[in-house]
């Protein structure tokens, strides 16, 4: 009964969220709501009220899996090699390098802090890597929102930002699959000596599964004409691949990401699956946010205390990393210090990272790390649109 009640609440929320996003979002105060930040808090409140308790949350895990697969697929569909080849090599390099720099910088910065608070060990390494990965990713939604608002930004390298925001989402997905691999997906925060070689092997298996599923998806979609058939195959595939990944202890996000890449490179960008995936993105994302919010355990108080530090640290790291990458790959001081603010938003990929960890992990350190990321996502919903606008206004140095 409670599970169904929770399901009703979830569906109603998704329903309420859908049409609302059609409205204009000109003012800053609406950014937070546009990005769905309040759904995290609603989820948390639902759990506190006992509507979405532990049992219901467990029963609704397939929905969480579906949401993760959905995000993974959307991410993968952005990587069409034919299209990527048209983008200058320096853009690829900047996009990836700035992400890796942030990953390394944030992981190294938080590792000693976590050691001091929670002790040294495999789980501390995993937690700091997780924080680094969450910091590396930028929100494509917030960037799009800021670009939409400003409309005119004559000197800003918008394409570079857009591309960097798409490319740095790959980093957390890769880190996630490696972390899953360390303990064969049983747990990612366990004590013991980590085997990164085994983790690479595990990543290989996960990639293989994603490739096979991607090919299967292509076969399933072949010669389908009706939209209802496409809808059935897309939903069925996402549920199947997500469930299969979970049953085999792989992250659903990564497996469907690979399948998305396979699909887009065989069938091309203009397919109905892309259309369906994008059209249904918001309700699914909001459901995911509510579920993540409901599964949110604060862990230690340090999670809350360190969250603003994580948020600010990430913004500094992004600014520094983008400037340094620009300097290395463009050969001159092309980007302003504040250009990096254009990538200050954190959104869907960070939430998906948290959801993936929630599926397999519980514990003080894990919960505290996830708290840091989620609070940073909420702060990002409040402040990042303005910061991103500021970043866009900086333009390219001549």
């Amino acid at each position: 009964m409670k599970t169904l009640l929770a399901l009703i609440v979830l569906l109603l929320l998704a329903l309420a969220a859908g049409p609302r996003t059609h409205s204009r979002f000109g003012r800053l105060s609406q950014s937070f709501f546009f990005l769905g930040g309040e759904f995290l808090l609603i989820g948390w409140a639902l759990r506190s009220l006992g509507i979405l308790g532990e049992g219901s949350w467990d029963a609704l895990r397939p929905l969480l899996t579906l949401g993760l697969s959905w995000i993974g697929l959307l991410l993968g569909l952005q990587f069409e090699f034919r299209h990527l080849r048209k983008i200058p090599l320096s853009f690829h390099a900047v996009g990836l390098f700035q992400g890796i720099l942030v990953l390394v910088a944030m992981s190294l910065a938080f590792y000693p802090i976590l050691i001091r608070l929670f002790g040294d060990g495999m789980e501390t390494q995993a937690a700091s890597l997780l924080l680094g990965a969450a910091a590396a990713t930028s929100s494509q939604d917030i960037l799009a929102l800021a670009i939409h608002r400003r409309r005119k930004h004559p000197h800003a390298p918008v394409h570079l930002y857009r591309y960097a925001a798409a490319l740095d989402s790959v980093i957390p997905v890769m880190v996630l699959v490696l972390l899953f691999g360390v303990n064969h997906g049983r747990s990612i925060f366990s004590e013991g000596s980590p085997s990164w070689i085994e983790a690479l092997g595990w990543t290989g298996y996960a990639t293989g599964l994603g490739l096979v599923l991607g090919l299967l998806f292509v076969f399933l979609l072949f010669r389908l004409r009706e939209r209802s058939h496409h809808l059935l195959i897309t939903v069925g595939f996402l549920v199947f691949s997500g469930g299969l990944a979970m049953a085999l202890n792989f992250p659903p996000l990564y497996v469907s990401f690979i399948s998305g890449i396979v699909l887009v490179n065989i069938t091309g960008h203009h397919n109905r699956t892309w259309e369906i995936a994008v059209a249904s993105e918001r309700p699914f994302y909001f459901i995911l946010l509510v579920l993540v919010g409901a599964g949110w355990h604060m862990g230690s108080i340090w999670g809350l205390i360190l969250a603003p530090l994580f948020f600010l640290g990430r913004i500094f790291a992004k600014s520094f990393a983008l400037r340094l990458s620009g300097r290395i790959f463009f050969g001159k001081q092309l980007l302003d210090w504040r250009s990096g603010l254009a990538l200050s938003g954190q959104g869907a990929t960070a939430v998906a990272l948290v959801a993936s960890v929630q599926l397999v992990e519980r514990g003080t350190l894990a919960d505290s790390s996830l708290t840091m990321i989620l609070v940073a996502v909420l702060l990002s919903g409040l402040f990042a649109p303005a910061l991103t606008s500021e970043g866009l206004s900086r333009g390219v140095r001549r």
Partner: protein, 443 residues
């Protein structure tokens, strides 16, 4: 060939997953989740394959569930099927909405005479015919040989009442699949939906009379009043909700499919909640029937609002997914052990029901002097049984604890056989009537 390869690929992955019980937090959920996706994809693929040899797609969905379910290959475990039962009840209300939406008031009014007489013929002949034929064969069955005449009579009447129920879900699924249109299709659909409602009423009456006969007590007239009140309330509430749903659909731009799903969940849960609360607070047994509510809602939105076309479009878009899953899960839930133990008796009952249905359809058509062609094939469209029939069979178990379980087992076995052969006959009948899409287009 491509579809076959896809199915083999899917099955291979499902086989690996079904054998992989790795330690981990997400493993149990993972199995239920992939099972759900697998049933959707595999059933759709098998349905496509069967359509190549002109068999109904829903037979493919059922066979997929049956083959990969817990009783044959075992890829989808019993635990997974049970955990997916929530989807089953949600699908039923969605199908009820669709059933209501598929009933055009204009055509019903036009064919009201033929529909009315057909229902009268079918209900009376199927009920009486099945009851009497079962009584005639009762000495052949081991489990009825030693029963007294009263019990035998009640048992036969209960089975007769279950025999009148059929499956609107499968009817709509096949009509959609074949793109059937015409007088024959309209009559079949109208009769099917109305008969499902009447079957529930008849069953309730038979059970009530039967219990008073067996216990020797007087029948409670309040029971009939209560039942009528429940039906009228459900239909009235459904009609009111229909207007509200139409207003909502008009107001909200987009996300209509999710609106319909939310509505289906809300109606199902709110009616159960209300029944439970009334019973616990006031000791009143009053049950609003979600399926009736949804039939009325669909009917009102389709016929008495400006949102009819939009509603049908949305139902059409999400319908395929719901039907595929519903029938695949129904196939997976078919208990082959029961069928294995009772198949000879079940076959006799299938034959008895089949003969009664054919005779009832013939009588109904004769009464309204329907065309000769319709008279011959009409009975073929009423063989399939599913959700409601299974529900009634389960109710027998509870109402008649002495012999109920045996009758329920037999009824489930009979319904299982009808579920498999019914859609094939239905599709063939529509084709013979010349109302399927390909026949209309001269194929």
């Amino acid at each position: 060939m491509r579809r076959l390869l896809t199915l083999i690929g899917l099955a291979a992955l499902a086989y690996v997953a079904s054998k992989a019980y790795l330690p981990g937090f997400s493993n149990i959920t993972g199995h239920a989740t992939w099972s759900l996706g697998f049933l959707l994809l595999a059933a759709f693929t098998v349905g496509e394959l069967l359509s190549l040899i002109r068999l109904p797609r829903i037979t493919g969905y059922l066979l997929t569930g049956l083959a990969f379910g817990p009783y044959l290959l075992g890829f989808v475990s019993e635990a997974s099927v049970q955990s997916l039962s929530v989807i089953d009840s949600l699908a039923l209300t969605f199908i009820a909405l669709s059933a209501g939406g598929e009933l055009p008031w204009k055509d019903i009014r036009k064919n009201r005479k033929i529909i009315g007489w057909t229902i009268a013929g079918l209900m009376s002949v199927v009920f009486l015919g099945s009851t009497l034929l079962f009584l005639a064969f009762s000495k052949v069955f081991a489990f009825t040989r030693d029963l007294d005449m009263r019990s035998l009579l009640v048992m036969a009447a209960v089975l007769g009442a279950i025999a009148t129920a059929r499956s609107p879900a499968s009817a709509i699924a096949i009509i959609k699949e074949t793109r059937a249109r015409g007088v024959f299709t309209e009559i079949v659909l109208g009769v099917t939906v109305a008969m499902d409602i009447l079957a529930i009423i008849l069953f309730a009456l038979v059970v009530s009379v039967g219990q008073s006969v067996l216990t020797g007590t007087n029948m409670d007239p309040g029971f009939i009043i209560g039942l009528s009140l429940e039906i009228v309330s459900s239909l009235t509430l459904g009609a009111i909700l229909g207007f509200l749903l139409a207003a909502w659909l008009k107001r909200v731009d987009g996300y209509h499919l999710i609106t319909i799903f939310v509505f289906a969940v809300l109606v199902t849960e709110a009616s159960h909640f209300l029944s439970l609360q009334l019973e616990s607070w006031y000791q009143v047994k009053f049950h609003l029937e979600p399926m009736l509510i949804c039939i009325a809602t669909g009917f009102v939105v389709r016929n008495f609002s400006s949102q009819g076309a939009r509603f049908l479009h949305v139902i059409e878009e999400g319908g395929l997914m719901v039907y595929t899953l519903f029938f695949a899960l129904a196939g997976a839930a078919l208990d082959l052990d029961i069928l294995r133990n009772t198949w000879t008796l079940a076959l006799v009952l299938v034959l008895i029901r089949g003969l009664s249905v054919q005779a009832g359809a013939w009588v109904g058509m004769r009464l309204v002097q329907a065309p000769d062609k319709f008279r011959k094939i009409f009975g073929m469209t009423f063989i399939t049984q599913a959700g409601v029939s299974l529900g009634l069979a389960k109710a027998v178990e509870v109402r008649f604890p002495d012999w109920g379980p045996a009758v329920a087992t037999l009824a489930v076995a009979t319904i299982s056989i009808n579920q498999i052969i019914g859609p094939i006959l239905f599709k063939h009948a529509l084709w013979l009537a010349g109302e399927t899409g390909d026949r209309r287009e001269g194929g």
